[in-house]
């Protein structure tokens, strides 16, 4: 899933300062799972905005809405009837959610309330770890299902750097060495021979240098 963290309140407040009628829009999918932009977080931010305005004896009108998915136009349609009644949309969606809303709602200022951080997995309640950089050329099979681009601080493709201690990374001792994990898992799955193969450099052109990546599936498109 996509993970995100809420921006500091001061930053959100400054962005919303010129407006009195604020529509706070959450997303019930990825950012709800990582407790950054779901229904609860929308309510908390709306409450903070009201408390802050009350403290300054300012009157604001804050409405809370949480869409099932902020990155899909059909779900954004649900807020069409509300948009004219508000001066600004404060989005608790990921970067894709904010931009999808901007695409659909060209005449209203949309302020992001989250910093989108990564593609991650839920390790335990309240802990999310980045697993994927979306490089567009997945070679997890080659690395025993552990991504060295994401999980090795040095992004090494052909074995460990030699700096790890006790199975932990020398850059951050709290992080397990990705190559320690790769080799252990290769041993456990009887594929250690694959370590003899040399992995060529990644094709970074799949990720960078061509603007936004786009997937077009003719079989999925409506005529």
């Amino acid at each position: 899933m996509i993970t995100a963290e809420r921006k500091p309140f001061a930053e959100i407040k400054a962005a919303c300062a010129p407006y009195r009628r604020i529509l706070v829009v959450g997303c019930g999918t990825c950012v709800a799972e990582c407790a950054a932009g779901g229904e609860k977080e929308v309510a908390l931010l709306a409450s903070q905005l009201r408390l802050d305005a009350g403290k300054a004896r300012r009157t604001i009108d804050v409405k809370e809405v949480t869409l099932d998915r902020q990155c899909v136009y059909e779900f954004i349609d649900q807020i069409f009837p509300l948009v004219d009644q508000y001066d600004v949309i404060l989005s608790l969606g990921c970067g894709a959610g904010v931009q999808a809303m901007a695409e659909v709602l060209p005449k209203i200022h949309i302020v992001p309330a989250l910093n989108t951080t990564s593609i991650a997995e839920t390790m335990e309640q309240g802990v999310w770890r980045e697993d994927c950089r979306g490089c567009g050329d997945c070679k997890l099979d080659r690395f025993a299902d552990i991504c060295p681009i994401t999980r090795c601080a040095k992004g090494l493709f052909n074995g460990p750097c030699g700096g790890s201690k006790g199975g932990h990374c020398e850059v951050d001792p709290d992080v397990p060495c990705a190559w320690h994990l790769i080799i252990t898992r290769m041993e456990e799955t009887g594929r250690l021979d694959a370590m003899n193969e040399v992995e060529p450099p990644a094709d970074w052109a799949r990720t960078q240098g061509k603007g936004p990546r786009k997937i077009v599936r003719e079989d999925q498109k409506t005529p």
């Binding site: 500091p8 309140f9 001061a10 609860k40 309510a43 908390l44 409450s47 903070q48 009201r50 408390l51 802050d52 009350g54 403290k55």
Partner: protein, 133 residues
């Protein structure tokens, strides 16, 4: 935003229902005495509290919000009171962000389940004389 029904309320007390099995009856005299100036919110366990409960209490007029929990290690459900403390800390961080003092929220550790009535605990918090039956 102020809820007109609760605009006179000044203290909100969230509490673990396990602390006083007779809480429903025991808090009545204080509710009658103080009217809307005190609001009680029984919880099945203090761990049920959410940061939003604290903020909403402030929004609806409370000047002070107490959470009364069991002593650590004495939660009937294991970790409820530990979780409650973390939620309270989170709520405090949220009010600090808006420039308010976080001492409007306070965690109170009760003597233990069944050892004090909610009336006694609340009167202690509010600095009132004990109720005479």
């Amino acid at each position: 935003m102020s809820d007109p029904d609760h605009s006179d309320s000044t203290v909100a007390i969230f509490f673990c229902r396990q602390l006083d099995p007779e809480q429903d009856a025991n808090r009545r005299s204080l509710e009658k005495e103080l009217g809307p100036k005190v609001r009680f919110f029984p919880l099945p366990c203090s761990g049920r509290i959410e940061a939003l409960h604290f903020l909403k209490a402030l929004e609806t007029g409370a000047r002070k919000v107490y959470l009364v929990a069991c002593p650590e290690g004495a939660c009937r459900y294991g970790q409820g009171n530990v979780r409650a403390r973390k939620r309270l800390d989170f709520a405090k961080a949220l009010v600090r962000e808006v420039g308010m003092s976080d001492d409007c929220f306070e965690l109170v550790t009760a003597p233990g389940a069944g050892l004090a009535s909610m009336d006694e605990i609340a009167r202690g918090l509010l600095g009132l004389k004990p109720h005479r039956a």
